[in-house]
């Protein structure tokens, strides 16, 4: 055959698949590289330049993007409004300078201040002095918290006394009041002392302002950092990004709730979809008669995988939230009506909707696995007096488990990356509370949740035009990829283990 082919045909037969594979690999790699490089810049330390331009009354401090292009984007700190502004202008080399002594101050609310100079307690800034001030401040905060924990039960008792109509003149009342008064006095004293730790910030226009240490989260000098310090700082930024709360107001903030919401939703989805999917596949493959009705069902299940995901979202909204949820509210949560408990989007409905979405994947993968189990194995079990159920439970299912896990991997990957249906059934851009907390019953299935994909969607369309909105979008993309990949790797390792165990029997 091959000998009779012309050299051109032979060349094509070998090279076209090769080129196709290479192109595919290249495009995958470039997507990954783009997301990684763009996402990493979100955590990088950007230098702060001093920019002089005719549109500024005095030179300002700012970050510069696209320097060297016709128009340069600068995100500059307005010393009068005390806010970051963005402008686009033509800049020449003479107009920007880099000063070593430039400070970036991050407040506890996530706002950034760019400063020319910084004094700590009338002394120039030094790292040791700043660390000492921070420690002191933290000690104060801790003491105030301790006082608060003492004050709270006393105030509760105070409220109980007034409810029981104990006259204010009663001695218990007086004693309580005196006690409270001293505690409050202590607290005020501490707060006053904490406020005394101040920094003096010098802005780019020369003006200075007092700023209490208690409001500062972080200070760094981007222009004076060494490479190692920058790396360390970036890692810190990344850690803060994935562990701290999301603050919708300030824009730049952590995404821990979204990370948590994504993982929890995927977990719940797996809990719902795996038993139902596997049982359905077992019924279809092992028990169902071989007739047109059953093959019809099989065709329908396979085609379910092709339905647009938004349709599932609408379906979930209609059936689960408006139908089922409203019914549950009327029966079990009537005292809360008209404010709904389950009759509103929430993580339970989101994960059930996603479970429906991924059900065909699990069923098809499991059936494939069941098909691969040799019939002789079933017969062996049956010949030893096993019932059909026992043969399936002890022999067939373990052998099919690698394929079942493949189904799980595929469904996890799909559920973690879908956004459209989630917008309808429970994911929100900002949720004030996590679905899991320390209040009974700990897991609050009725709550709305945040999701990485939804945050990306949001940052594309509605984000404030701040300097880091774009890089934040890529950073979230990067994180989403990391989450999906690590869930997949986990399942793949498990599957490889099971495969090794069973491959010699089939």
């Amino acid at each position: 055959m091959i000998m009779s082919m012309s050299w051109f045909k032979r060349f094509c037969a070998v090279n076209i698949p090769l080129v196709a594979t290479a192109l595919l690999t290249l495009s995958l790699l470039s997507i990954l590289l783009l997301v990684i490089s763009k996402g990493m810049t979100h955590f990088s330390v950007k230098p702060i330049y001093q920019v002089s331009h005719s549109s500024f009354a005095s030179p300002v401090l700012g970050m510069v993007q696209n320097y060297g292009a016709k128009e340069t984007d600068i995100f500059w700190f307005d010393p009068i409004a005390k806010e970051l502004q963005s402008s686009r202008m033509a800049l020449s080399e003479q107009q920007i300078t880099l000063h070593q002594q430039t400070f970036v101050i991050k407040t506890r609310t996530g706002k950034l201040l760019f400063a020319q100079g910084l004094m700590l307690d009338d002394a120039p800034f030094s790292k040791e002095a700043w660390q000492r001030l921070l420690d002191e401040n933290n000690a104060f905060t801790k003491q105030i918290e301790q006082l608060n924990s003492k004050i709270y039960p006393l105030e509760l008792r105070f409220a109980q006394y007034s409810e029981r109509n104990i006259p204010l003149s009663a001695p218990v009342f007086a004693r309580l009041q005196a006690e409270l008064e001293t505690l409050h006095e202590q607290k005020r004293h501490l707060q006053k002392k904490q406020q005394q730790n101040r920094t003096v910030i010098q802005f780019s226009d020369g003006a200075t302002a007092d700023f209490p240490v208690s409001k500062i989260a972080l200070i760094w000098q981007p222009n004076a950092m060494s490479f190692g310090e920058k790396m360390w700082f970036s890692m810190g930024e990344f850690w803060r990004f994935i562990t701290s709360d999301h603050q919708a107001v300030s824009g730049s903030a952590g995404i821990f709730p979204a990370l948590f919401g994504t993982v929890l939703m995927v977990f719940l989805m797996t809990v719902f979809v795996m038993p139902i999917g596997v049982l359905t596949a077992i019924y279809l493959h092992e028990y169902a008669p071989d007739n047109h009705f059953v093959s019809g069902i099989r065709v329908i299940i396979i085609n379910l995988a092709g339905i647009p995901s938004i349709v599932y979202g609408v379906f979930g909204l209609g059936l689960f939230i408006m139908g089922l949820g409203t019914q549950i509210d009327q029966i079990f949560y009537a005292q809360n009506l008209p404010s709904p408990t389950f009759g509103t989007p929430g993580i339970l409905w989101a994960s059930i909707t996603m479970a429906l979405l991924t059900l065909p994947t699990v069923i098809v993968a499991t059936e494939e696995g069941l098909q691969q189990v040799p019939q002789t194995l079933r017969n062996g079990a049956l010949a030893l007096g096993a019932t059909k159920y026992e043969a399936i439970r002890f022999n067939v299912l373990p052998m099919a488990s690698p394929n079942i896990l493949t189904g799980a991997i595929l469904s996890i990957a799909r559920a973690a990356s879908e956004v459209a249906p989630l917008l309808l059934v429970g994911a929100v851009i900002y949720a004030p509370t996590l679905p899991v907390d320390d209040i009974f019953p700990y897991l609050h299935l009725e709550r709305q949740f945040m999701h990485l994909g939804v945050l990306i969607f949001d940052s594309v369309f509605h984000s404030a035009n701040t300097f880091d909105s774009q890089s934040m979008m890529f950073a979230i993309c990067l994180l989403l990829i990391i989450v999906v990949l690590s869930l997949n790797v986990l399942a793949a390792i498990l599957r490889a283990k099971l495969r090794r165990r069973y491959e010699r029997y089939s």
Partner: protein, 268 residues
């Protein structure tokens, strides 16, 4: 031919009711429209080895699978006639099929170890019966493995995966697995077809010991094996029982031309 006179086994027609383990009468089996067995009537004597010989596809496997109702698994299967084991019709509605299969053990042509340890393979049938304490289970597994002449080879690796065993060892494991349930009847479908001479010898010796308290039905394509091992031999041809007699008689003085042709290797 000295052996013939020393033999203490009764002729098939002179068997008393106590000596009969399985009685098959007018059994016909169909898969869909295809008739696989036609009007088989025979008795299988208790605590003896009975060999089934015949061409591939003549219905031997179908017949032994009828005895523990493994044919029921085929959806197109249909049968008429009756099989009586120890006086009970196994097609009666009162019969618990799972229970029947624990008493009529079956070893398939190709070893099919379960994906678990050697110990678990042997304990599988017993565990399904529940209510067996751990220590008793250990003893039962050891006894079954010793009976199957496998114990010495696997006693140090009982909890290793069964797939590490060789083909012959796996075949003996399959026998041990069936023996663990102490079946009254053991059905063996070409137990030595894939084994080397030494492993074959092991299994033949094993069958000689087992026959003291188990009825053994064996399918084989090896004439010498059938002649030296079994007490009675049945020859099947295209779904019909052609000749069934004492092995010595069948192999020395076959009554039918077909039998003679087959055992002398003129066809098949």
């Amino acid at each position: 031919m000295v052996k013939l006179f020393k033999s203490t086994k009764p002729a098939l027609k002179k068997l008393t009711a106590e000596d009969i383990s399985v009685e098959i009468s007018d059994l016909s089996v169909y898969f869909g429209k295809k008739s696989v067995l036609r009007d088989i009537s025979m008795v299988i004597p208790k605590h003896r080895i009975t060999s089934f010989i015949g061409q591939s596809g003549c219905g031997k496997t179908t017949l032994i699978s009828s005895m523990n109702r493994m044919n029921d698994l085929n959806k197109n299967h249909r049968c008429t006639g009756s099989i009586t084991i120890d006086g009970q019709n196994i097609h009666s509605k009162k019969i618990n099929v799972a229970k029947l299969r624990t008493q009529v053990g079956m070893v398939f042509q190709a070893p099919n170890p379960f994906p678990m340890s050697i110990y678990d393979n042997v304990a599988f049938g017993l565990r399904l019966q529940k209510q067996i304490p751990r220590r008793q289970l250990d003893e039962a597994v050891e006894r079954a493995l010793k009976n199957a002449v496998l114990w010495d080879e696997v006693k140090d690796q009982l909890f290793a995966s069964a797939s590490i065993l060789s083909g012959g060892q796996q075949q003996r494991l399959m026998i041990a697995r069936a023996l663990a349930l102490k079946p009254k009847i053991l059905l063996l479908d070409e137990p030595t077809s894939a084994l080397d001479p030494l492993a074959t010898l092991h299994i033949e010796e094993l069958m000689q010991t087992l026959k003291k308290n188990t009825t053994i039905v064996m399918i084989t394509h090896n004439m010498q094996q059938a002649a030296r091992l079994s007490d009675y031999t049945a020859f099947f041809h295209q779904g019909e029982l052609v000749e069934y007699a004492d092995s010595d008689k069948l192999f020395t003085q076959p009554k039918h031309k077909q039998t003679e042709d087959y055992i002398t290797g003129r066809y098949g």
